[in-house]
């Protein structure tokens, strides 16, 4: 497992003229609205504890106003916390003096912005080399490195254009190239793709994943879009009104939402696309290791199910049912187990999306075996387990039994839904 690179400990942020004086109220556990009413201060973040692993894409998600931007701006101290600590590779960012903070920002972290944050009066090349010239690197070398990064993000040949001459997607590629050019090992991305249309957006997501495989940066990615979070994140942290409500692996967020709020977020996700076989399969302890029919039937009879998977030292071989084994036993009980004895059932890959294996799994009478690339037997996926995961009621049962749930759900619909409502008229106009 990779190491923890960034640790946030007990982070609080209260916006206003005299935040320190009102911290006792926050510690008493008053909510954001009460604090605003009583003191005129806005509670931006409340007791955030978070660790971020080296080489991960960690997603921070939440509705508008939940404090995502506030949180990410604490990592490079664009915002000063009211209380708490942020450790990056063991250094306390809060303790850095101004000069050290500048060095830290130049070399350790770079950032990509929602509205790109490019310098409109400079060419694309000068924008990409911006971080390098700030570091004091000579113009010539900075430009050479900038050109390389422009080519990496697919914008070779655009060096002398101005940002306003590019499309949104291209501008954000410039923003990405600028961030990558400084060779910082941590990349902060604040809703970096939110201003882009869906097609360009998924293109950029693919590009980011591809780059990440090569560069192995530690990326903190902010979004309010769960599909994006699931697509990119190794880990997803969900914020609500400045509080961390769940911090988990993507499949855990989907399958075991911690609160109604998270539940409302995940309800409309296409699970068949978001989940892989691995996350929903059941491990199979029992396997038949025999070489002859007779032994196999003996092992099978001792087992509660009427089917089993034949696994040898060479890995997964095939699936056997008790019924047909009995028949083969009548014919020739000493025969070796071969190809012809197996049930007609293709194994599925652990990293396949549920969507891909849906038809054959639902059509099969037996749980489908899951076998990885090396032929190793991993477990099995039954029709019932698949159906349960995919039916939305299954996991929202708890929420629905709660009488107050429907009205609450209405008010807590994730932002993307609201947004799509807003967007429609503008696109049709």
């Amino acid at each position: 497992m990779s190491n923890t690179l960034i640790e946030v400990k007990g982070l609080y942020k209260l916006f206003g003229s005299n935040p320190k004086a009102h911290m006792p109220l926050v510690h008493q556990g008053l909510g954001k609205d009460e604090i605003l009413a009583q003191t005129g201060h806005t509670l931006g973040l409340k007791d955030i504890n978070l660790s971020i692993k080296e080489g991960d894409i960690s997603v921070i998600m939440g509705l508008s106003g939940s404090g995502k931007s506030t949180l990410i701006r604490h990592f490079n101290r664009l915002i000063e916390p009211t209380e708490g600590q942020i450790l990056v590779g063991g250094t306390d960012v809060m303790s850095l003096a101004e000069k050290d903070l500048e060095q830290f920002r130049r070399h350790r972290m770079s950032m990509v912005f929602q509205r790109f944050g490019l310098l409109p009066h400079r060419t694309v090349l000068d924008n990409v080399s911006f971080g390098l010239t700030i570091q004091g690197i000579k113009k010539k070398e900075a430009n050479e490195r900038a050109i390389e990064w422009l080519e990496t993000v697919g914008l070779g040949g655009y060096e002398n254009q101005y940002p306003a001459q590019l499309s949104g997607g291209q501008q954000q590629r410039v923003g990405l190239a600028r961030a990558l050019a400084t060779n910082a090992d941590i990349l902060l991305m604040d809703e970096a793709f939110s201003a882009l249309d869906p097609l360009i957006r998924s293109e950029m997501q693919d590009q980011l994943v591809e780059l990440q495989e090569k560069l192995q940066k530690t990326i903190i990615f902010i979004t309010h879009d769960l599909d994006e979070a699931l697509r990119l994140g190794n880990n997803i942290a969900i914020l609500k009104d400045g509080e961390l409500v769940q911090d988990d692996k993507p499949e855990e967020i989907l399958l075991n939402p911690a609160t109604d709020y998270v539940e409302a977020f995940v309800r409309d996700v296409n699970r068949a696309r978001a989940l892989t076989v691995e996350t929903v399969m059941q491990p199979q302890e029992f396997r038949i290791t025999a070489t002859t029919i007779e032994e196999a039937l003996k092992q099978m009879r001792a087992h509660k199910d009427d089917y089993a998977y034949h696994v040898t030292d060479d890995g997964y071989q095939g699936m056997l049912s008790q019924e047909s084994l009995e028949e083969y036993y009548q014919e020739d009980k000493t025969a070796k187990l071969t190809e012809e004895h197996y049930e007609d059932l293709e194994p599925i890959a652990p990293d396949a999306a549920l969507e891909e294996i849906l038809p054959e799994t639902l059509a099969s009478d037996y749980p489908v075996p899951v076998v990885d690339e090396e032929g190793e037997f991993m477990g099995s996926l039954s029709r019932d387990a698949l159906a349960e995961v995919l039916s939305p009621e299954a996991s929202s049962e708890e929420a629905n039994t709660d009488k107050s749930a429907p009205s609450e759900e209405g008010s807590e619909t994730p932002a993307e839904k609201d947004e799509s409502k807003v967007k429609q008229p503008t696109t049709s106009a």
Binding site: N76, L78, E102, Q103, F104, R105, R106, H107, M109, S110, M111, F113, Q114, R115, F116, G117, L118, L119, P120, H121, F130, G131, I134, Q135, Y162, P163, A164, Q165, R178, T182, L188
Partner: protein, 298 residues
């Protein structure tokens, strides 16, 4: 209700009291100017020397060369043949009607005043943008500078430095500098916060932020401020001529005193011509240097 006279006539200071106030203040100021007048004058000496040198240069250089140089500046600033033609015709007409020398005097005065306004005004504007407290202090001062009748602050300047180019220059700068200060302040405050944040996030220090982000992005507003400053300096030329500034203002003043309508009109038109030249050229330059900020679509 016997004595309600304070309602009908304002309860004011007596004549004697007012006189004392005036006398003391005037006396103090006179003493101050006797004491420090020369010292203060010597501070301005280099500016005066430059102004005189520049004026002589403009007047003594043969007129075709001046027109050539101005034409070149106009063309390189605006890249517009139309504007260039207009400027050359205007200058030829000014010379043809016998106002060449006065126009050159005014031109030198305006140029120096504008330069001084820029050199002082932009840093003050930057200071205001950086500190809310400084802004609070400066705002009323700028209001006073812009609304106080110019004649009023001519008096102390003349008392201090006498009549001549330097007092003229000071009063023109006082009158003309507020726009460049205000618009520099405004321009920097309006800089897109995300762009500034981006610069900070990449480790830019205060100086790098100022020169790489704030000033360039505030440029459209600063340019508008400079443009207004030039216009106001030109408008002040006539007033400044009352305290001995040579140039187009003096004939105007003479024609007011002697009711020479045509003389006034010609010189007035020459001032207008200069104003239009400055305005169009600086605007064309501003537009050209900022065209990539707007993008291909707009």
């Amino acid at each position: 209700m016997a004595d309600a006279s304070w309602l009908t006539s304002f309860p004011q200071l007596s004549r004697m009291e007012l006189l004392t106030i005036r006398k003391t203040l005037d006396g103090a100021y006179k003493a101050f100017s006797r004491e420090y007048g020369d010292a203060i004058e010597s501070i301005f000496h280099p500016i005066l020397a430059f102004l005189v040198w520049f004026e002589k240069l403009l007047i003594n250089t043969p007129w075709p060369i001046i027109i050539l140089v101005i034409g070149a500046i106009v063309y390189f600033a605006s890249r517009s043949w139309k504007l260039l033609t207009g400027v050359v015709i205007a200058l030829l007409l000014v010379g043809f009607f016998g106002m060449w020398e006065d126009t050159m005097s005014t031109l030198s005065m305006i140029t120096v005043c504008t330069l001084i306004s820029i050199v002082l005004g932009i840093p003050i504007g930057i200071g205001m943008a950086r500190s809310d407290r400084f802004q609070k202090v400066m705002m009323p001062i700028l209001d006073v500078m812009q609304t106080m009748p110019a004649f009023v602050y001519l008096i102390p300047v003349v008392m201090l430095l006498g009549i001549g180019k330097i007092p003229g220059l000071i009063s023109v700068v006082i009158y003309a500098i507020p726009p460049v200060i205000r618009l520099t302040n405004l321009g920097i405050r309006l800089v897109d916060s995300e762009v500034l944040e981006a610069a900070t996030a990449f480790g830019a220090n205060g100086r790098q932020r100022l020169f790489n982000v704030q000033i360039p992005l505030a440029m459209p507003n600063i340019m508008a401020g400079i443009n207004q400053t030039i216009m106001m300096a030109l408008a002040m030329v006539v007033v400044a001529s009352m305290i001995g500034v040579k140039g187009l203002g003096q004939p105007v003043l003479k024609s007011i005193q002697n009711q020479y309508f045509t003389l006034g009109l010609f010189n007035g038109l020459a001032i207008v011509a200069l104003a239009i030249i400055f305005d169009r050229v600086s605007q064309a330059y501003a537009k050209r240097s900022q065209k990539h900020m707007k993008g291909a679509h707009s």
